[in-house]
């Protein structure tokens, strides 16, 4: 599961949706893989305003990446600075969790990630 995807997801339990603690999910015992992909500047610029930057900063530090700036870069900054674009591309799209768990900060439920595919199905008492 890519870091970008993690930014779009929260706990599947309905009661957790309204709690700020449920986002982002926290990686636990995560094995990371790097997959080289061609940089797609249009895609990065398009996705920028849809990101929860605060959550991305949390995820990035939890995965051991150097700290991200407080504020997201602007589209112009990314277009002007190739390194910034590549770093963000690397974090969002080239880095993924292949094995491990994702933990909700609100209810503590753990979602397993196997072979890069996370499982968000819930037992019946949580539906």
């Amino acid at each position: 599961m890519k870091v970008l995807t993690l930014n779009f997801l929260t706990c599947a339990v309905k009661a957790c949706k309204s709690s700020p603690a449920s986002h982002p999910l926290h990686p636990k015992d995560a094995e990371l893989v790097q997959d080289e992909l061609e940089v797609n500047p249009d895609m990065i610029v398009n996705v920028l305003p849809r990101l929860d930057w605060t959550a991305l900063r949390t995820t990035s530090s939890e995965l051991g990446f150097p700290p991200l700036p407080d504020q997201p870069p602007t589209a112009e900054e990314l277009e002007a600075d190739d390194k910034k674009l590549k770093d963000l591309h690397h974090l969002l799209l080239e880095t993924s969790i292949s094995e491990g768990k994702l933990v909700c900060g609100n209810c503590g439920h753990e979602y397993a990630v196997k072979e890069g595919i996370a499982n968000f199905l819930l037992p019946s008492h949580l539906v």
Binding site: C11, A12, N46, E115, P123
Partner: protein, 443 residues
């Protein structure tokens, strides 16, 4: 300028929806001048030749586009129209290497007859060499005949057009993505032609993000990725996406077609208990929800919690076990459609589109009504008809919030929710019920 679009004579109700969507993708000012579901020839207006080529390059249902030189109900009328409209173009092609071609829909000519018609254009001052194999310019005479014209002995076509060939469409993609040549498919994989058309109608394009909540083996994500979108998918059945791993998996299909860069992610989840944040993030949502005939429609939960308390216990005790399989229950198809629209209204960006397939009986009394949502405006309804039922590809546009009617939103919030009336698959799903009864009306 006017152009002839030559369509494939198939999936007729999808053709205009596709071409109009492509005009939106390419930001072209398209006007349809003449269209008939019964004819493969469509006349459109566009600002330039370059625009015409751009419009057609992704189309699955068009075959080619031509600069319109003339039209008429008879050959004489056609010549009159060519002589009136195109003399200013003639000098450009004076020395060009060219050929003439005939395309008679539902009609036939002997090769002598074809040659005779082509020779009636001898007034065009073309002095360049004629090449049948490698011409630089191709002029095509399109004819439209009445149905059954040959056995009925009809002598003349109903209408004739002439145009200069500009560009071919992307119709050959249908073969490239043919399911027979795909490494990993299942019984419900969408055929490549309809998947590619769905991607076109939902405006998949480079830089955009697409999501398929019923991904299965990935037919839609692959089609959207082909057109440059980055695609995400989920399915309640993780096995359908994993397959046997490597080549025989959803991701394996992306690799087969060299579309790795268009693969976002897949994860296992249930539409009614989705982990997705409810913020605008998707440019497009495409879906072929299970309607309970070939594939059961199930969501998380217990069918009868009171009778099976041990299943709840097991969930509490073993819920965290990696091999635990949560129980699922049958769900109403109409409630699912409603859920999809609510989800789309919450997660589509402004003007983003949601396209999904839904089946219905052809019999009017048993027809399943189209779901609606105040934040979503219907863009197109395309129908693929079978004998007693048909499936429709319905596409909506997310209206910007400032344009959404507040009164309609309030009325929607207060509406009677689609409730699960019953617990068995038949009770929950009128289409499934009708399907297995052969859509017979009750005596």
């Amino acid at each position: 300028m006017e152009f002839i679009i030559k369509f494939a004579q198939t999936h007729e109700t999808f053709r205009v929806a596709e071409i109009e969507s492509l005009a939106v993708v390419e930001k072209l000012d398209l006007k349809i001048i003449e269209y008939d579901a019964d004819s493969p020839v469509c006349v459109v207006q566009l600002p330039s030749v370059e625009d015409a080529k751009r419009l057609i390059k992704r189309s699955i249902l068009a075959q080619s586009i031509h600069e319109l030189w003339g039209q008429g109900l008879t050959l004489d009328e056609l010549h009159e129209s060519v002589k009136k409209n195109t003399p200013h173009l003639w000098p450009q092609y004076k020395m060009a290497c060219f050929k003439f071609d005939m395309d008679a829909y539902r009609g036939a000519h002997t090769s002598k007859g074809r040659l005779a018609i082509i020779n009636t254009f001898s007034y065009l001052p073309f002095e360049g060499p004629i090449s049948l194999s490698k011409p630089n310019e191709v002029f095509t005479v399109f004819e439209q005949w009445k149905h059954n014209s040959v056995p009925l002995g009809i002598e003349f076509p109903d209408k004739i057009w002439m145009g200069r060939f500009l560009a071919n469409s992307a119709r050959d993609l249908v073969l490239k993505y043919d399911l027979k040549k795909r490494d990993y498919i299942s019984t419900t994989s969408m055929d490549s032609e309809l998947a590619l058309i769905t991607a076109n109608i939902s405006l998949a394009a480079p830089g955009k993000m697409f999501y398929d909540p019923f991904a299965g083996t990935g037919s839609f994500p692959i089609a959207c990725a082909h057109f440059g979108a980055m695609t995400w998918g989920s399915d309640i059945d993780g096995r359908s996406m994993r397959g046997d791993g490597a080549k025989k998996s959803l991701y394996g299909n992306f690799e087969q077609y060299g579309l790795r860069a268009g693969f976002g992610d897949v994860f296992t989840s249930d539409m009614t208990n989705s982990p997705m944040r409810r913020v605008p993030m998707w440019d497009g949502i495409v879906a072929d929800p299970p309607y309970g005939v070939r594939e059961g429609l199930r969501v998380l939960g217990l069918k009868d919690p009171e009778k099976t308390p041990w299943l709840i216990e097991a969930g509490i005790k073993k819920g965290k076990d990696p091999d635990y399989v949560p129980p699922k229950k049958p769900y109403s198809f109409l409630a699912m459609l409603d859920d999809i629209l609510v989800f789309a209204s919450e997660t589509l960006v402004e003007n983003g589109r949601v396209s999904f397939w839904m089946p219905t009986a052809n019999d009017e009394d048993q027809e399943i009504p189209m779901p609606t949502h105040p934040c979503l405006e219907t863009v197109s309804v395309c129908v693929q008809a079978f004998y007693k039922w048909s499936r429709r590809l319905i596409t909506y546009r997310r209206i910007p919030n400032r344009e959404v009617s507040q009164a309609a939103l309030e009325a929607y919030a207060a509406r009677q929710k689609v409730v699960n009336t019953g617990t068995s698959a038949d009770d929950l799903n009128p289409f499934r019920n009708g399907y297995f009864k052969g859509f017979k009306t009750d005596e």
